[in-house]
Amino acid sequence: MLEAVLVATAGLVPACAAGGGPAGSGRPPVTGDRRHFTDASLGFRIGHPVGFVVRSQDVSRLAFQPRPLASIFFMNPTMAAGDLAGIEPPDLQLRVYRAEGAPSLAAWLAAAGFLPAGGRSAAKSVGRGGVDGLEVCAATLVAPGCSIYVLGRGRVYQLTPISREGEAMIETFELLA
């Protein structure tokens, strides 16, 4: 257990330098007080506040199924410099899963076991920014508790915010053409 947590902490690396993981787009463009993080290989772009730290999590260490293709932490500078960086839920966690051939997002979520007991009724359709998805909230008081899932390009993108900054970032999420 100790090793796993420490590895997870140490496993956070700058996302743009993560070998085999999400590749950043070099110098991100600045838009107002936001920057955009673009990952062409995973097919998405998302804005985040200036000063936020973006790190990639080593998904090979994740014990659960389905295992994501990538897991990216967007953290405010205080959290990123803190002792629990990489352990505690970040402002926004973005996970990307393989989903080729999924008949629908709801079907994929059900097959992955990501719907809490109650099934489809536990997922709520949401439109955020330019994408439509399903919001799934846990039935318990665990934080963060709610994720928004988006299906596109043969992948499922899971966006899990814990702060208002993280929630605002979801509005800027977009799939690349």
């Binding site: 257990m1 947590v5 002792d83 352990i87 007991a117 909230c137 318990t140 665990v142 899971q158």
Partner: protein, 369 residues
């Protein structure tokens, strides 16, 4: 600006009721009495420590009329102008030293006086009534008992990193909610539990302690279907054994531990604390979600079999946080009587298992808390 009409009166004039008749005719917004030097001297001589100690309490006014609320008042404008405030202040750096020297007998007597414990009233149990606090958002409150027993519990679930709350108990264990430990839907434990006592906005002042084992009740692991406060919460308790921090300290050596009580009455005055990210409406907390210890005090009430409720406004993230009875700031006292399990969204109560012989006792007997 001085709008006061200053009245200088001797005690004989006061006794004659002069001030009352004057007050009735005064249009000024305030009325002031100047206390003469002779009166001050006389008062200082009169109020010996014995007289201060023995003076009877002044009667509280009692209105024997109707207590009906004036609901029309709710529709009247509230503001009398822009909001104003004056900051609080600290005592002089040498104040305690000077006071201890000048009033040494009082200091000696106070420091020798025994604590008084016990509540001289019986809680009735209140639904949706509470007082809510930000606790270790304040610098003075993060390193004192009993707050240092509380901490943030982080772990890994199939859908990502997650956090709950937990409390250090005896023999280097923590107590938290079973739903922070074991997923009944998938019939599997979560992983990578890390407990950070006194966690405060990214900082771990006593280090982080990794779990070496976590234990839930069989009754919890056997549940299936949707989470139900009325039938699940009574089993929603877990304990985890914790390893040492990076300084080589045990959890109990680093922060001590909370007591615990089981089979206590349903109606208790509880201090319910944890690290919420959201409120009871499921709205994200603006200032440091899941970054600070926050709390409610309320009187617990019986919801259903072995399930208690208590008023609170916090939500997601406070799971597993303890309900402490006998809470006293700065004092090494306070017993965990329940942990946060669930709420009904938009209702200002949180529910938890009443600690009893079938949950916390079974768990601690099994693992040696």
């Amino acid at each position: 600006m001085h709008y006061s009409r200053i009245i200088t009166l001797g005690s004989s004039a006061l006794a004659a009721g002069f001030i009352l008749s004057a007050h009735a005719q005064v249009a000024d917004p305030t009325v002031t009495k100047i206390v003469s030097a002779q009166e001050q001297l006389a008062a200082a001589k009169h109020w010996t420590r014995q007289r201060i100690a023995s003076v009877p309490a002044f009667p509280m006014p009692v209105d024997r009329g109707s207590s009906t609320r004036n609901l029309e008042a709710d529709h009247q404008p509230e503001a009398m102008g822009p909001m104003g405030a004056e900051p609080a202040g600290k005592q002089d750096p040498l104040a305690i030293q000077i006071a201890r020297s000048a009033y040494w007998q009082d200091w000696a007597a106070l420091e020798a006086e025994a604590d008084i414990d016990g509540m001289d009233y019986t809680p009735m149990g209140t639904f949706g009534i509470y007082t809510s606090y930000d606790v270790n958002t304040h610098n003075a409150l993060w390193k004192i008992y009993p707050h240092i027993w509380d901490g943030k519990l982080t772990f890994t679930t199939p859908t990502g990193s997650a956090s709950c709350s937990a409390t250090a108990i005896s023999n280097n264990h923590i107590v938290t909610a079973a739903h922070c430990v074991y997923d009944t839907g998938a019939n599997q434990f979560y992983s990578n539990w890390a407990f950070t006592p006194a966690y405060r906005n990214g900082n771990a002042p006593y280090g982080t302690f990794m779990a070496t084992s976590c234990t839930v009740l069989g009754a919890w692991a056997n549940l299936s279907g949707g989470f139900s406060i009325n039938s699940w919460t009574r089993h929603d308790v877990a304990v985890c054994k914790m390893g040492n921090n990076s300084a080589g300290q045990t959890l109990n050596a680093a922060v001590g531990w909370a007591g615990r009580t089981w089979n206590a009455g349903n109606n208790q005055l509880v201090f319910n604390s944890g690290y919420p990210a959201r409120t009871y409406t499921d709205a994200t907390i603006a200032n440091g979600p899941a970054q600070y210890l926050r709390a409610c005090t309320a009187e617990s009430f019986l919801q259903t079999t072995e399930t208690l409720g208590s008023g609170c406004n916090w939500g997601r993230g406070i799971s597993g946080g303890s309900w402490m009875i006998g809470y006293k700031p700065l004092v090494v006292t306070g017993n965990v009587n329940s942990v946060n399990s669930g709420l009904f969204i938009n209702q200002q109560n949180i529910y938890g298992a009443r600690f009893n012989s079938n949950n916390i006792v079974v768990l601690c007997n099994a693992v040696g808390c």
